[in-house]
Amino acid sequence: MTSDSLTAPVDWVRFWEDSYDARSKIMFRDYELNDWSERAEDYSESRRTNNYEFGESVYSTLALHGVVSPHSRVLEVGAGPGTFVIPFAKKVDHITAIEPSEGMSRMISQNAVEAGVNNYDIIPKIWQDVNIEDFRGRYDLTITSTVIWMFRDIMTQISRMEEVTQGHCCVVGGVGTGQTFEAELWKKIMGNTPRPQYPEYPLIYNLLYTCGRVPHVRFINYTSMRSPENMLRMYRVFYSIYTEVTPEIEEIIREELYRDSGEGPCIRKYRSAVVWWNPAVRRKEFTGIA
């Protein structure tokens, strides 16, 4: 590699697309909406851990920096079981969930009843099918987590998220925590097939930066707790994307889960980056030193 090629700007959009394509290449089949309905229960249990610790921590981080307030109208892209809908609804004016999976939508409603909130609505579509002309500038914050890896055309979808807000955008993305369980389980089931990457952070920061945005970042730590049955359900769906899940494979998952957590719930510690930016603020190119 020459010195010039080392220091030349990286084409992050291409980098993102390559990651997406590398994952697609090893897929046995594509994700379907039913997969997310199947995942609704385990996902809900995970997000509800410690009284919605994940969503609450994100809210606190954004509120501290003036990104969200009691007057805010929020749009959550890919709300799942109500990741942000439930903890945010108690504190903001209104929140709209974009959620195409029936199972997840049912879970949002169920969780909302339990939390005593009703200042929300659900648009049962995938984000790409939402006509943003209907929502242009209607929100103060567009927020999403654990969803952007689904978008090969990442900056098109990010731009659409920006167009519906007159305030900020926020992407919450996981960072590697060095947990070996997932890697070891993958190797046991898939052998030497490269483990698929679901890149979130810091890749998303690089993308936003290179596309002229001015993002801010804070980190949150949170716990996810799931019953062994829900963990098994999650892994069954996950591995069915990459192979045929036979009774033998289910047994490997069961054994590994038991070895890891015994008969009790599986507790995982995670870290996520909260990345937010004001779409109206753009970066001019910076080179050299001022």
């Binding site: 080392l6 220091t7 590398a22 920061y205 690089n206 970066r283 030193i289």
Partner: protein, 268 residues
């Protein structure tokens, strides 16, 4: 195939030329105009960093700060006004003298200088000695950047903060373009950002606006020295610089606005 990027090697390659040109001698020559800018701007970028730590609810009155490559005190002075003690690491004698003079003029007796480069400082002597270690606009000095950041962590018992240009003042860009000075395409901020993340430090990121004021004389000198860093200054260069600065000055003050990126994290 998704390639992995060797950010440390990219940094060393990108920083090489800048490191070669920006010598201690260069900064000794820049001491006067740089000092004028810091004073005329009332230490604006340091004050903005101070405000960030205050807003985050982290700043404590009894903090001891280490300001690496302090220059004439853009960071040191505003922090010294608010915390217990500030130690500046500054190898350029004229910069250090300017810093101590500013401190004295403001009645600050809690500032001291270690007259060395950061690389010459023995980190074992200062192990976990500081609550906040800041290095502002000076990372270009370190070709082995990760080692130097690890040494910063070694002397911090609280936080580390690296401040770097995020967006050049558009006025500066226009002028350097007119002079045919190209400081290269290498993006230091994003490279440091990726080095820190790859190393598991996961810094918080903030972007802060700043405004710098300087006298016309100081502005002209700074740009002349910048040209001389790259090539001999000629008559036409001086004309371009004089005309540009005069046309953009208001009541004798030349003002530029820019953005800096702050990468800061709690040391484990």
């Amino acid at each position: 195939m998704v390639t992995q990027i060797d950010w440390e090697t990219a940094w060393a390659a990108g920083i090489g030329e800048m490191n070669r040109l920006s010598t201690t001698n260069y900064w000794n020559q820049r001491a006067e105009d740089y000092s004028d800018m810091v004073l005329a701007s009332d230490c604006n970028h340091g004050r903005n960093i101070l405000n960030l730590f205050e807003k985050e609810g982290l700043l404590q009155k009894d903090w001891h700060i280490l300001d690496i490559a302090s220059g004439p005190g853009a960071i040191t002075i505003p922090f010294a006004e608010r915390v217990g003690r500030v130690t500046a690491v500054e190898p350029t004698e004229r910069m250090a003298a300017a810093l101590m003079s500013h401190a004295q003029n403001r009645g600050l007796s809690n500032v001291e200088v270690i007259l060395k480069t950061w690389q010459e400082v023995d980190e074992a002597v200062y192990s976990k000695n500081y609550d906040l270690v800041i290095c502002c606009h000076a990372l270009w000095q370190f070709s082995d950047i990760l080692s130097q950041i690890r040494r910063m962590e070694a002397v911090s018992r609280g936080y580390c903060c690296l401040a770097h240009g995020f967006e050049a003042p558009s006025e500066t860009l226009k002028l350097t373009e007119a002079l045919g000075i190209n400081e290269g395409e290498f993006d230091q901020f994003i490279t440091v950002f990726n080095i820190l993340n790859d190393s598991g430090m996961y810094p918080n990121v903030d972007v802060i606006d700043y405004t710098l004021n300087r006298s016309v004389t100081s502005a002209v000198t700074s740009v002349e020295k910048l040209v001389e860093k790259h090539r001999p200054l000629n008559y036409r260069d001086s004309e371009i610089i004089q005309e540009y600065v005069q046309n953009h000055a208001n009541e004798g003050i030349y003002q530029v606005s820019g953005r800096m990126g702050l990468l800061w994290w709690k040391v484990a």
